[in-house]
């Protein structure tokens, strides 16, 4: 006699053992160390920290190793760990004007105070596979422009703001920031909340949406005012310690875009701002985020909402890759109870259909 399938528990255990084996790969080959991952796959680590919303290179490297290099899976691991951490409070706003720069470029000025600084960029490499990298290589030591601490050039947006050419920036002082990991989203969102969601949003999704704005689906005539990558200090105000103390430094990428101007009868024309900020080094993500930020400001700036990138509920509800991958992949779970209900209905409807056809046949005869 047929007996209902048993043994789910054992099957899961065995699947996990096989997964561990496949993750390790050929045991003859030495195992990856976390230092190797964080040192040599550093942009992957950056993405996991950024979309995982947790700045910890070591944990991100572990997550990448555990996820067999599947970055969304790694982001998921980091998020599920992060969420259990107690919340002591919120840091002071970081000051990107005080950044220790490694890269800083502006597309709106040929040259500017502090100069253009290319930094470690793929931009002008020829994309030719380099067979030398298949073996072990020792690159030339990098040139350093500054022996001592580098100067801290003014932000391009501050230069424009000095002339009143760009709209003023929001003023966050005097209140706690929104926190999308502690408060459920309620549409419509404040811009700061939206920016948080975008910053942890999926790079690929935001890239595609940002791209769509350039192709005419909500064009906003963007210029890269400035991209800067470097380290900033994170300060935390703890009353017990009497004032702000420095927790450490984080590497971030900031993109400030300058967009189509806007004026009204009362205010003269001004450029509008859009903003991208992510952990680590990822210009692609920071730029995409800024394009989306500008598109999503349509309502606030009195523009018609005509494209997907301008639709806040659409963009924000679908930008989180951990949510998206979970729900898409849950279709793998058994659904046979619901399927059974549909099966019954389809059979019933087919029977009714056949019955009607029979009756018509009889009537015709």
């Amino acid at each position: 006699m047929y007996v209902a399938v048993k043994g789910g528990e054992k099957a899961i255990d065995n699947a996990h053992r096989l997964l561990a084996d496949r993750r390790r790969g050929d045991p003859e080959i030495s195992e990856l160390s976390l230092d190797q991952i964080s040192g040599q796959l550093s942009l992957a680590v950056d993405r996991v920290m950024s979309e995982g919303s947790l700045y910890d290179r070591e944990l991100a490297a572990l997550a990448i190793k555990q996820a067999r290099g599947d970055l969304i899976e790694a982001i998921f691991l980091v998020r599920a760990y992060r969420t259990t951490l107690p919340r002591f409070g919120y840091s002071e706003p970081i000051d990107t004007g005080d950044m220790k720069l490694e890269r800083r470029i502006s597309a709106t000025y040929k040259d500017l105070p502090g100069g253009q600084m290319l930094g470690p960029t793929f931009d002008y490499t020829h994309r030719l596979l380099d067979p030398a990298l298949a073996g072990e290589t020792v690159p030339d030591a990098p040139e350093r422009r500054f022996e001592e601490a580098p100067e801290k050039p003014m932000r391009v947006s501050d230069i424009l703001a000095g002339e009143g050419l760009i709209e003023p920036d929001g003023d966050p002082s005097g209140r706690d920031p929104a926190d999308i990991t502690r408060t459920p989203l309620e549409f419509p969102l404040e811009r700061e909340t939206r920016l948080q969601a975008l910053s942890r949003g999926d790079e690929g999704f935001l890239l595609a949406l940002g791209y769509s704005t350039q192709r005419g689906y909500a064009r906003n005539h963007p210029f890269v005012g400035e991209i800067r990558i470097g380290e900033v200090e994170v300060e935390f105000e703890a009353p017990e310690l009497g004032g702000a103390s420095v927790l450490g430094r984080v590497q971030i990428t900031e993109c400030q875009m300058v967009n189509q101007f806007k004026g009204s009868a009362k205010a003269p024309p001004q450029f509008t701002r859009s903003y991208g900020l992510v952990f680590g080094q990822s210009e692609r993500k920071a730029m995409s985020m800024a394009l989306c930020d500008r598109a999503l400001r349509a309502g606030e700036l009195g523009e018609d909402r005509v494209a997907a990138a301008q639709d806040e509920e659409f963009v924000i509800s679908h930008s989180d890759n951990v949510q998206a991958t979970g729900f898409v992949e849950h279709l793998k779970l058994p659904h046979y109870v619901d399927f059974q209900a549909e099966l019954e209905l389809v059979r019933k409807m087919r029977a009714e259909h056949a019955h009607r056809a029979e009756n018509m046949q009889e009537a015709a005869e």
Partner: protein, 294 residues
């Protein structure tokens, strides 16, 4: 923090920290106070994927105590992979006793089914919910659906049922069949087959619904009216199976269809595996029965 410090020992009882549990319990209390109303809550990332029961797991984690006895089912079965995985999660993180017996459980987490055996006072049934908004597929915007609930504008829901009848001769919704709770809020019962809808009405147990990805919790307090939407001349009906369970002979229960071979051979047996096993156990030990009912 170094990695060595972050072993399982660093996790709280039932995984979630107490701050988070308090937040979820507040949402649950609000949900119980407004039956059928979807309360937003700050859903956490859980160590299982969204869509795999994170809402139910968070609700269970927030209400479970060391004395509780937990049962987890998926598709009515205790032994489907996801049920096993969630049960093991709570065994590991909360160390609670688990059971497959509906009568013995104090907390039952479920996906897609309501147990056949009537639930009792003091029990809590926790549903995993993928899409909590019953109006979602008629109106994709949250801002608009919240307004529709607030103003009790449910005409659109009946438009959908009307269309079903006009097209198929009957209402063609077989699962996630919308209900009205306590005469006020239209609610999605999660993708349980509509066969289970009548069990929600005037139920002795507390019913809690958790949607992790969509960040909503809602509830049906014990002994609350739950009415499936319908028309007077096309009343709500549950699907009936033509044959009894092939294993235990039960009638009027929900059956799974098992494909036996590639020649069209199939059999139908209880979707609620515990119900089926208990019945078969009773049948075998009729003489040994001392009248103890569980």
């Amino acid at each position: 923090m170094t990695l060595q410090d972050t072993g399982l020992a660093a996790y709280n009882f039932a995984y979630l920290d107490e701050q988070t549990k308090r937040m979820i319990r507040r949402a649950i209390l609000k949900a119980i106070a407004i039956p059928g109303y979807q309360v937003p809550f700050a859903s956490r990332e859980m160590p299982m994927p969204y869509g795999w029961g994170t809402g139910g797991v968070q609700v269970t984690a927030s209400i479970i105590g060391p004395e509780d006895v937990l049962k987890v089912i998926d598709q009515g079965s205790d032994d489907t992979t996801n049920a096993v995985s969630i049960r093991k999660f709570f065994e590991k993180t909360a160390g609670v006793e688990t059971t497959t017996r509906t009568g013995e459980a104090t907390v039952i987490q479920t996906r897609h089914r309501i147990p056949e055996a009537p639930l009792k006072e003091g029990q809590v049934l926790v549903y995993q919910v993928p899409i909590p908004e019953p109006l979602r597929f008629l109106e994709p915007r949250e801002t608009e659906t919240r307004k529709m609930h607030a103003l009790e504008e449910y005409g659109l829901m009946h438009v959908k049922l009307y269309e079903d009848i006009a097209r198929n001769g009957h209402i063609a919704t077989t699962y996630a069949y919308p209900v009205k709770v306590e005469g006020r809020y239209v609610m999605d019962p999660s993708p349980t087959p509509k066969f289970d809808n009548p069990k929600m009405d005037n139920c002795a147990a507390l019913q809690l619904f958790g949607a992790g990805r969509e960040k909503r919790i809602y509830a049906i307090p014990p002994y609350t009216s739950v009415v499936s939407l319908d028309f007077e001349d096309h009343p709500f009906e549950v699907n009936r199976f033509e044959q009894p369970c092939a294993l235990c002979g039960a009638e009027g229960v929900y059956l799974d269809e098992m494909i036996l071979d590639d020649k069209g051979g199939r059999m139908f047996c209880c979707s609620d595996t515990d119900f089926c096993e208990e019945r078969r156990g009773e049948a075998e030990s009729v003489s040994a029965s001392n009248g103890e009912i569980v």
